[in-house]
């Protein structure tokens, strides 16, 4: 069971994530209003916001899912407050480096910082700002690598390696040691996260080999980098980290949904074990779908990208749907705000996943590549998927800190978030269907409907934010209470 210190550090983490989320949402809304020409913005400023928004969102929700799994892991294994504190401090410094590089240094090469763009500022930013951004990411990658390795260590203190991957469930119906779904999914996703962070460290070290380790911009090696290799590494890291974060969010759903609804716990069966082991295997090669337009990438990799995109989604979706149906089937399920969030989140994850698969199909990608379809699908499974998984956890844990249960459903808040969230992403999808390009600071009149979709998207995002704010205030209040002296 989590100690008071562990609850406090979790609570601090939640406060940080929510503050970052609210700031990044404001940036998103400003961008969408700018694209709609409601409040036009200097393009350089737009790209500063876009870069900060992207990196903050991806980072904050990856951290939130790791944190949520770590909190729930305390039910099965010994967890460490020190490790989470270390991760929080490292993250704070990393975020400070990133935000100052963008807001003060004007760095705005996008959160994917594709080589050689950081070094081709064209007067837009100084070499020092680019290096500071890269250092911010390097620090986060190192700290989070240690965080994930620490959690793997915690799991392996109790379970052997094959048990942590639930391999004993593949052959036996009732094995001597049962691996809970939370441990299985956390373990496979942590391994994926570890791969991501090692990739990021290699990628960033390669950047530094050209730009120099310091802020002066003096190269370490007199060599140039291969843009194709750099792009492969970037998406190996970027695509995988976003997906593993989602998987960690699903681990939370497997653990909490039955409990919240008053149902028996979910158990690991052979298909759960198989599905999740396969998912992690395939997700590591799905990123090739980001390089369909790179003519120098061999065709074999493009095919692997498409096949792996399909294979990665099928096991996790099928297994999760079967498991969720088993939990929800029958009368008497006790609904609450967190369980409703988990359910809507699962829908968002699947809808976004279908959008992703459409785009990951080579024949469609020729049309949809770099259109608003791309932000459409990833906002669906992030904003209406992973964010809801983590928010559901935050709502639940804020009560768990004090051992209370909030029986209210908070229907209005959720309805606002559903209308606002799905409306917001729908405007992106419509933009994509009309071939509106992504990452445009403003839309020329030739892009039919683009401005209208952008403005409507911004209004929907405001509706979402209203519902969110009501939820967040409630959670924050409860999180702050954990720091008050506790009754024994």
């Amino acid at each position: 069971m989590p100690t008071l210190a562990f609850k406090r550090i979790t609570s601090l983490w939640i406060i940080v994530v929510l503050v970052l989320f609210l700031s990044a949402i404001s940036m998103g809304i400003l961008m969408r209003f700018a694209q709609g020409s409601v409040s036009p913005m200097d393009p350089a400023k737009f790209y500063v916001l876009m870069t900060t928004h992207g990196v903050t969102m991806i980072g904050a929700w990856a951290a939130a899912s790791i944190l949520a799994c770590n909190y729930l892991m305390a039910r099965y294994v010994k967890v460490s407050t020190g490790l989470n504190l270390f991760a929080l401090i490292g993250t704070g410094v990393g975020v400070a480096l990133l935000w100052t590089s963008t807001f003060s240094g004007n760095f705005h090469a996008g959160w994917t910082f594709l080589y050689p763009l950081p070094f081709k500022a064209g007067g837009g930013w100084q070499a020092a700002a680019a290096n500071q951004f890269l250092w911010g990411l390097m620090l986060l990658s190192i700290v989070w690598l240690i965080w994930c390795l620490g959690m793997v260590w915690q799991i392996l203190q109790k379970y052997s390696l094959p048990q942590a991957f639930a391999w004993q469930h593949l052959s036996k119906k009732e094995p001597a040691v049962e691996t809970p779904p939370l441990i299985l999914i956390t373990m496979v996703s942590l391994v994926g996260m570890i791969v991501c962070f090692i990739t990021a460290i290699i990628l960033l070290a390669m950047f530094f080999s050209e730009s120099g380790w310091g802020l002066s911009g003096k190269p370490v090696l007199e060599a140039k980098l291969d843009p194709l290799l750099m792009k492969n590494l970037t998406f190996f890291f970027g695509h995988t980290v976003a997906n593993e974060a989602l998987y960690l969010g699903l681990a939370v759903v497997y653990e909490l949904l039955p409990e919240l609804g008053g149902r028996p716990k979910l158990h690991t069966s052979w298909y759960v074990s198989l599905g999740w082991n396969c998912a992690v295997l395939f997700i590591l090669t799905a990123f090739f779908h980001h390089l369909y337009m790179d003519f120098v990438q061999p065709q074999g990799f493009q095919i692997v990208g498409q096949v792996a995109s399909y294979l990665a989604s099928v096991p996790s979706v099928v297994v999760t749907l079967i498991s969720l149906a088993a939990v929800l089937y029958g009368r008497g399920f006790r609904w609450s705000l967190p369980s409703l969030m988990f359910l809507v989140g699962a829908a968002g994850w699947i809808i976004g996943g279908i959008g992703a698969l459409i785009d990951a199909t080579i024949s469609n990608n020729i049309i949809l590549h770099n259109t608003l379809w791309v932000p459409a699908h990833f906002h669906t499974y992030n904003l209406m998927g992973n964010v809801l998984f983590a928010l559901g956890f935050f709502c639940w844990v804020a009560d768990d800190f004090r051992g209370t249960v909030d029986p209210r459903k908070h229907g209005l808040k959720l309805v606002l978030m559903i209308i606002g969230g799905f409306g917001f992403v729908l405007m992106f999808y419509l933009g994509g269907a009309y071939s509106v390009p992504r990452r445009f600071a403003f839309y020329p009149a030739e892009l039919t409907h683009a401005q209208l979709f952008a403005t409507m998207g911004a209004w929907f995002a405001l509706v979402y934010s209203l519902g969110l704010l009501l939820v967040v205030l409630n959670v924050l209040k409860k999180c702050f209470l954990v720091f008050l002296p506790q009754r024994s």
Partner: protein, 252 residues
Amino acid sequence: MFSRILAAAILILIPSLSTLGNEAESVMGGESGIYQRLPDATIHTTEGAVALSTLYDQSPLILAPVFTRCAGICSPFLATLKGNLSKLNAPADFRVLVFSFDPEDTPEDMREMAQHYELENDSQWIFGTTDQIEALTDALRFQSKWNEATRQFDHEALLAGVNAQGYIVLKLIGMQSSTDLGRLVSEIRGGFQVAFPLPKSDTLFTCFRWDPVTGKARPSLGLLIMAIPTIGAGLMVTGISAAARRRRKRAE
């Protein structure tokens, strides 16, 4: 069970991996067919027949495949091309060959098309047809498909630059700005162009080494870098597992 599913997955992936190395054939759009020599097709105009080699021997060429019944891109494409070329003020030491890829078009149809753009008396422009449509469009890797419902070709808007030796040196796809057109004209006249660079010997860890003579790419050291994270993660997790097992044993 697990091993069977894994084997099935590997079987699915292997055929796709086996296509590695064939990528020279599969490169897309603007890059395909570059540095290939054009077939010596015969071009028919209302003034007679002429071999393509005679044309590019005299001066570099820009090739523009069109068809006269086109209700889509061909018309704005040619109008833009004409407008942008006149804006360029480049010396007229190259020619533009507008040829039809529709077997139903005749030299007469092409002359009418030239008239429509007031180009029939401009010696820089040639409007014609060819009997070797397939050979020519294949060499250009020109994409077109007959659509029975609209009775039109779905096709790309292609400009291909051919140098005085008959090699395709640059392709532009889509409506082009005068800047891009300037690049094309400069390229066919032998000017220096910043192009897609091949990795040089000072490039650190390339994924592939491409041989422009054979058109084949060989895997290179950069691919190993792609494998390091997965191998590294595997080693780290196994190391942690071994340490944890020792610790568990000691505790027992």
